[in-house]
């Protein structure tokens, strides 16, 4: 299975119809609220809300979603457990060596875990239900993102699969030539050096050629342009905004 298939949904739900710029702004606002909020129960409600959005409305099959959630679950546990076991606190529940669980560290750990879960789920909902091209079209039209940034991002995205192929070819070349790496940190640096150099060299050349090709197609910085995908505000954007705000308010009042 290639990267493209992996990120193709089983069916396109209503979340796909929401203007990606609206989604971007609302999710970003929610991100900020979660980030600065210190109340673990509110954060937990937000986490549940984002998980529901992801698992019910992203349009991906459960198996795929569980696969995508693995890194999120790992990050929840690592952040929460570290804080619970080693965090500072007055009211000590249990202590053994350097491990010290206190009431404060416990709640702080939960808060951190819920926060990273909320970030993860919200981020996934956003990534999985917005095509990058549509996002940039919306950002250009609704949020006035300059076209030069939008198109350089989209052009860069096109180069990613080529880079992945090259990494694979490079790794094959190492096997064929009998390259062995040292163990530990030193090996990591050797790998970095040997993998990065040719990939960088090729990517820089490619980026230059692409930039010239774009200019040859009359792409001009700052010039007016029309849009192949005109994006506007639709009723569904309002519905989505209302839903997200009322869910967040619900999360707040239930805590």
């Amino acid at each position: 299975m290639n990267l493209f298939d992996l990120f193709t949904p089983h069916k396109k739900t209503w979340l796909y119809k929401v203007n990606p710029a609206v989604k971007f702004v609302l999710f970003f606002a929610l991100f900020m609220i979660v980030f600065f909020n210190q109340h673990y129960q509110f954060t937990m409600n937000i986490m549940i809300m984002s998980a529901l959005l992801l698992f019910l409305f992203s349009g991906y099959r459960l198996k795929r979603l569980l696969l995508f959630s693995i890194p999120i679950v790992i990050s929840i546990f690592s952040t929460a457990v570290t804080m619970i076991l080693f965090g500072k606190g007055e009211t000590i529940w249990w202590q053994w060596g350097i491990i010290k669980i206190s009431e404060e560290s416990f709640y702080k750990g939960l808060l951190l875990g819920f926060k990273s879960a909320s970030f993860g789920f919200l981020g996934l909902v956003f990534l999985l239900t917005s095509r990058p091209v549509m996002l940039f079209y919306a950002l250009m039209q609704q949020l006035k993102l300059p076209a030069k940034f939008a198109y350089s991002f989209m052009a860069a995205l096109r180069l990613v699969p080529i880079i992945i192929d090259e990494l694979q070819a490079r790794s094959n070349a190492f096997k064929v030539r009998g390259v062995t790496f040292s163990k530990g940190i030193k090996g990591i640096f050797e790998r970095l050096r040997l993998y990065m150099l040719p990939i960088f060299a090729q990517s820089i050349r490619r980026a230059q050629r692409l930039a010239i090709a774009m200019e040859a197609k009359r792409f001009q910085i700052g010039a007016d342009r029309t849009y192949y995908y005109p994006t506007t505000y639709q009723p569904i954007d309002g519905v989505f905004a209302l839903l997200l705000i009322s869910l967040s308010l619900g999360a707040y009042f239930l805590s």
Partner: protein, 511 residues
């Protein structure tokens, strides 16, 4: 009054430059010194010359890309830029900034501020004109390289250009793709001026009106009709490595080729017996993930042979090489010198009897100097430092890498990079050298140099296995041919002799 206007009209479609001087920053000498060139309305002009003589740079000057997009200091007495131009570049993979065909075409239309309502119609129109018969919302990555170049041409047509510049548009294409792009160019450009830089000129040699011949130092040495050029400047064209229509004819009539073939005949070995075979495959399959991508019922590779693997794009030729090198998952029976090769999932060490040359040499370089690159392959065989030193020196000379051996491999020319990559693979002293299209994208001169080099290795006892699209190589160099079609090897069971019977052409080597 009217006549004056008419004249101006005519003149405005002429493009050209007089007394151009151009120097790349950091270079010691001028690339062009007082160069003048002019192309009339709807003229078709071909630039020929050795690599690095500045043909592509001149295209960029004539289009205005230099100095508007690429900052290079230039000076000229007069310059007449086209009112509207389109530019098709060499590499199909670095011309598009969007993932889908329609979105890429839309990018051009948006730049021109074409209203949304007119976009679909214009896209359909240009796709039809270049013969790109796919739904507009198709992924560009799913197109063949030839189709991608057609798309590049289509997006250029949206600009409604008076002049089309083509910078080696077929250099990185296989024969089928080359046909595709030139058919399309001829189809769409009747009323347009077309300026072409290209080394592969089979399709266009008698289509262009004028050929401009450059020398090494960027001077125009001839500006004539194709007939005159191909008649009077034969030796220059051969020297520059141009793939002209008679290039193989000339080459096979050359002394060096005849001597080589004579050598072949005298050193023929007796008919090979099955027991002599180096590699034997039975029900051999190669997989990408869980998908079977190549299936070989039965086939053998015999010592001292030159085996070419042919087949359409995506048929599975390169996959077969990867499976033989154990770089992808494989199953079945695979023996080398009668000993079974482990096809265990976990053990993916390449068999040491085989070495591999990748298509892109840069991806297989690992050291910082040319010499270390070769030395690395020798060191891992456990040779002493002194021996490594001697052997590396010897190999670099044998592969005619007469450059500063302390240079970084990336500083070499493309032909030299290829030779270095073959040298490093050869340094393993394996029985079989596998090569994935080693002459792809190279000019005629370096192609013949490479082929002669490989023949020399074969004479010394190395078996050559190479993937190629070039039927001339198959005809003139191969002793054995495998044809791969839709993931299956078709003729693995035939003996080499039988296959030579069915081979194109007349060149039958006895084996």
């Amino acid at each position: 009054m009217e006549t004056v206007n008419d004249q101006q009209e005519q003149h405005s479609n002429t493009i050209g430059v007089t007394n151009l001087r151009l120097k790349f920053p950091g270079e010691r000498s001028l690339l062009f010194k007082d160069l003048s060139f002019e192309a009339k309305d709807s003229e078709k002009v071909l630039f020929l010359g050795p690599s690095g003589c500045g043909k592509s740079t001149l295209l960029q000057v004539l289009s205005g890309l230099i100095p508007n997009s690429i900052e290079v200091p230039t000076r000229q007495d007069t310059i007449q830029l086209p009112k509207s131009y389109g530019f098709v570049f060499q590499d199909p993979d670095t011309q598009f900034c969007m993932p889908y065909v329609d979105e890429e075409l839309a990018f051009v239309l948006e730049n021109l501020q074409v209203p949304r309502e007119q976009m679909d119609e214009r896209m359909d129109d240009v796709l039809k004109r270049v013969g790109l018969d796919v739904p507009p919302h198709s992924r560009i990555d799913d197109l063949s390289q030839g189709m991608k170049q057609r798309l590049a041409l289509a997006s250029v047509l949206l600009l409604d250009p008076d002049v089309i510049f083509l910078d080696e548009p077929s250099a990185l294409l296989d024969p089928e793709g080359t046909d595709q792009i030139w058919d399309s160019v001829k189809e769409v450009s009747e009323d347009k001026t077309v300026i072409i830089v290209e080394h592969k000129i089979d399709h266009i040699a008698d289509w262009v009106d004028r050929v401009i011949l450059f020398d090494d130092s960027g001077h125009i040495i001839a500006d004539e009709t194709p007939e005159v050029i191909f008649e009077q400047y034969q030796s220059e064209i051969t020297e520059y490595g141009i793939w002209h229509p008679n290039v193989w004819e000339h080459y096979t009539a050359s002394e060096s080729f005849k001597a080589m073939m004579k050598n072949r005949q005298s050193s023929t070995v007796d008919l090979v017996k099955d027991t002599d075979r180096i590699v034997h495959l039975q029900q051999f399959k190669g997989f990408y993930g869980k998908k079977e991508k190549i299936h070989v019922e039965e086939a053998s590779i015999y010592p001292n042979s030159w085996l070419t693997i042919i087949g359409d794009n995506g048929a599975g030729k390169s996959t077969l090489l990867l499976a033989l090198m154990r770089l992808i998952q494989a199953s079945g029976n695979y023996t080398i010198h009668g000993k079974a090769v482990s096809l265990d999932k976990k053990d993916k060490t390449p068999p040491k009897e085989l070495s591999f040359v990748f298509q892109n040499p840069e991806l297989q370089f690992i050291e910082n100097t040319v010499k270390d690159e070769v030395a690395f392959s020798l060191q891992i065989q456990g040779l002493s430092t002194k021996k490594v030193e001697e052997e590396a020196e010897h190999l670099l000379n044998a592969f005619r890498l007469y450059v500063d051996h302390e240079h970084h491999p990336y500083q070499l020319s493309i032909g030299q990079k290829r030779r270095l990559s073959v040298a490093t693979a050869f340094a393993h002293h394996s029985d079989i050298l596998l090569l994935d299209e080693p002459t792809f994208g190279q000019d005629a001169k370096s192609t013949y140099e490479m082929l002669e080099q490989l023949e020399e290795l074969r004479q010394q006892g190395t078996t050559i296995v190479m993937v190629t699209h070039d039927m001339n190589i198959v005809e003139h160099f191969a002793t054995d041919v495998w044809t791969v079609q839709q993931g299956k090897l078709l003729n693995g069971k035939d003996t080499p002799d039988e296959k030579c019977e069915t081979k194109v052409g007349t060149h039958h080597e006895s084996i």
